[in-house]
């Protein structure tokens, strides 16, 4: 039961800022909203009259669409801004963009940005509520929340699970947010990657660093594969894509070594046969499509809670 109706934060910038109660509140609220997406009429009037801007200054399809659908199903008015169709292309600073949007009376700004810390900055310059939809290699908090939600739905718990995060941990905001989130909720985390993609400082975040995927695979409950940014290869983080795939691609042979009830996750978009072989994504162990579905419910919950909350049951009906 939800015994508290509001978050301890006014913006969702980082998982680091959230309490365990905050996280549980989001997940429990999302549970109510998930039902809406399964109705024939997928819309409630909860955020009618609220204006939400999706400020996506870095290309994104799934996160932007997920936020847009979440907002629309709550009856908010949604405006999408991307960097190549805005004044930012003409050289407008983030501060001026923030001031402009504030003057227009926007309630919530959902921002994706290629530089770490940008949403913290944005929050300084506007009264609107800010949701960080990914800032550089820093954080992607709603991804971590939807991942928690998906795991909790599937495995009925998070505490004491062993999560294996595989791939380009160093450059991944998804990895950081998930490390913070799953740690908070009592899971054990191993990060699995070549040493060039997981510097030793990650241990100070409270995770185990493992280099040998085959060795860890039998120990883990959740295999979380990260997207490999292919341009990394030119920077010599590893000698070739082929060698990377040989060591870290989740294929059928590796999956055989895994626990019987293991689940496989990926934030998308997938590089098939590099992070995960194509024949696995459709197997029952994979909950990748559930992640996408949960994404909308979790984002509805976040939008709803940041917009002011209130009695959830009343809001949904």
């Amino acid at each position: 039961m939800i015994d508290r109706m509001s978050l301890s934060v006014t913006n969702l910038l980082s998982i680091k800022d959230l309490t365990n109660d905050d996280i549980n509140l989001v997940l429990d609220t999302a549970k109510y909203f998930e039902e809406i997406s399964k109705r024939a009429i997928k819309k409630v009037p909860t955020l009618r009259g609220k204006t939400i801007v999706n400020l996506f200054l870095e290309p994104s399809t799934r996160t932007r669409i997920s936020f847009e659908l979440a907002a629309k199903r709550l009856s908010a008015d949604v405006v999408n801004i991307s960097s190549d169709s805005s004044a930012i292309k003409k050289g407008e600073s983030l501060k001026d963009t923030a001031k402009t949007l504030t003057a227009m009376g926007i309630d919530i700004i959902v921002m994706r940005h290629s530089f770490a810390g940008s949403s913290e900055l944005l929050a300084k310059w506007t009264d609107a509520r800010i949701i960080n939809a990914g800032d550089g290699a820093h954080e992607h908090p709603t991804q971590a929340l939807l991942d928690l939600y998906t795991v909790r739905e599937k495995l009925k718990k998070i505490e004491n699970l062993h999560i294996g995060i595989v791939g380009d941990v160093a450059h991944s905001r998804v990895a950081r947010s998930n490390i913070f989130a799953f740690k908070k909720m009592g899971a054990k985390i191993s990060v699995i990657a070549p040493p060039t993609l997981v510097p030793p400082e990650f241990e100070s975040l409270g995770v185990n660093i493992r280099y040998n995927f085959d060795e860890v695979i039998p120990e883990i409950d959740v295999i979380y594969l990260l997207r490999l940014q292919l341009e990394r290869q030119t920077e010599s983080f590893f000698p070739s894509i082929g060698e990377y795939a040989r060591l870290f691609c989740l294929n059928k042979e590796r999956l055989k070594m895994a626990k019987e009830n293991v689940v496989i996750m990926h934030p998308g978009p997938i590089n098939r046969d590099i992070e995960i072989s194509g024949d696995i994504t459709e197997m029952p162990e994979s909950i990748i499509t559930q992640q996408v579905a949960s994404g909308i419910a979790v984002r509805m919950a976040v939008l709803y809670l940041l917009a002011g909350g209130g009695l959830v049951s009343g809001a949904v009906d």
């Binding site: 530089f115 770490a116 810390g117 940008s118 900055l121 290699a137 820093h138 950081r176 400082e201």
Partner: protein
């Protein structure tokens, strides 16, 4: 022109001054130092009552960016020297990364002329090591030396080519001027934003490992033992560098170094909210590094404090972290920050701080200083007890990580060649 500074406590370890005395100044020079000089002088002479105040040799900053010519929106010689005077600096060395670069005599002449006509403290230009700071071809170092530079530096850049660095060191021996080196292996720090460690990892900002500094400090000291010459290591920030420098000094090599007030007092946790006012290169390091720097300053391994005063406009700093420029200002707060954070906390002696700010840097660039008869009357008068909040800056820029801080100990008068250039 005469001036009497009455009843202040003189602090100048290099001249064994540590008691209450008067200073009588005539024609820009210290004419005499002694007890109750006032009695013997004729009435009506200009006097400063320094009772209860400290009188120290004028501070000398080996590392200032005045931005003129080229970025007069960030700082000018007029505003930069006023900021210096407010901080008690009577002399400053300006770095050559202006536009145009100080890599030829005419730019040195321009700066000196501007300093003479618009500046209020002494300005000593530093010349470039390589043309346009390009790291490929030596600047005309002899011309620069003749024009009056006090050292050479490619500050902001490292001379990455070891062979060229060797030539620069060898060539500089003709002038007995230091190469003031910015030590950074640029390949290791590429795209880096902050110190590599817990905070770079947690914040997802690209790290700059302290080893990038250590490697270049080690290389330059190694070259020094091959070629001879003098090296002054700018803005030392890493404990590893300190260890190497300590050993080099023990080996008798001609190496000196500086540390900045921000590296001595702030660590990378400052950046936890992505505050670009703490974005600086070398980056704010860890607590362990700060401890090593303070210890080294106290034991003399680190010779001097220098500000690396690097003004940037508000709109440049109010940007996404990766897009904001590196640099913090420091002239106006250097003394008070270190007095509050090091001296008051008994991590450094007061006289040690004064020496590191005044006579020691002066000796590195061969400038006369100190409270003794015949020296230029460059003096800084300090009120140890004055408390204040860091708010307004004289500098054109305000990119200070100390903004809003309550500090103790303040410069009350700054005197250059016997003339009061700043008065609180």
């Amino acid at each position: 022109m005469e001036l009497l500074i009455k009843g202040g406590k003189l602090v100048d370890p290099s001249n064994k001054q540590n008691s209450v005395k008067d200073i009588y100044i005539k024609d820009g020079l210290i004419k005499s130092v002694g007890k109750d000089l006032g009695e013997t002088l004729k009435k009506g002479i200009n006097a400063i009552d320094a009772k209860g105040l400290i009188v120290a040799p004028g501070f000398v900053d080996l590392h200032t960016h005045l931005r003129e010519p080229g970025r007069e929106d960030e700082e000018t010689i007029a505003t930069g020297t006023r900021a210096a005077a407010k901080g008690g600096f009577t002399s400053i060395c300006c770095m050559p990364n202006t536009n145009p670069v100080v890599d030829n005599k005419s730019v040195v002449d321009f700066i000196k002329e501007k300093a003479r006509s618009e500046g209020i403290v002494k300005v000593f230009p530093v010349g470039a090591i390589t043309k346009g700071l390009n790291g490929r071809e030596l600047a005309e170092m002899a011309d620069l030396a003749d024009a009056g530079v006090v050292g050479f530096s490619d500050d902001g850049e490292s001379v990455m080519d070891s062979r060229l660095m060797r030539r620069a060191l060898e060539y500089s021996k003709m002038f007995d001027l230091p190469l003031m080196v910015h030590s950074e292996d640029k390949n290791l720090t590429r795209d880096g934003q902050i110190n590599e460690g817990y905070w770079s990892t947690a914040l997802g900002l690209k790290g700059m490992p302290s080893q990038a500094e250590e490697i270049m400090v080690a290389r330059d000291i190694s070259l020094l033992s091959l070629t001879g010459g003098r090296i002054h290591i700018a803005h030392t920030s890493a404990s590893e560098s300190v260890d190497i420098i300590r050993k080099a000094k023990n080996d008798g090599l001609k190496v000196t170094c500086e540390a900045t007030p921000h590296h001595l007092t702030l660590n990378d946790e400052y950046l936890r909210n992505f505050d670009t006012s703490g974005k600086v290169n070398p980056p704010l390091r860890s607590k362990k590094d700060i401890e090593a720097l303070i210890e080294a300053l106290a034991d003399g391994t680190i010779d001097v404090v220098a500000t690396d005063h690097a003004p940037h406009t508000l709109s440049e700093k109010e940007k996404e972290f990766d897009l904001a420029p590196f640099g913090v200002i420091g002239l106006e707060t250097a003394f008070s920050v270190l007095f509050t954070e090091l001296v008051k906390k008994k991590l450094l002696s007061f006289s040690g701080l004064i020496e590191a700010l005044s006579t020691k840097p002066a000796s590195i660039i061969g400038v006369k200083s100190g409270i003794k008869e015949g020296s230029p009357a460059d003096l800084t008068v300090i009120d140890e007890k004055r408390k204040f909040k860091v708010e307004d800056f004289i500098s054109k820029s305000s990119n200070s990580p100390f903004k809003g801080r309550e500090l103790e100990g303040k410069v009350i008068y700054t005197i250059v060649d016997g003339k009061v250039v700043f008065e609180e």
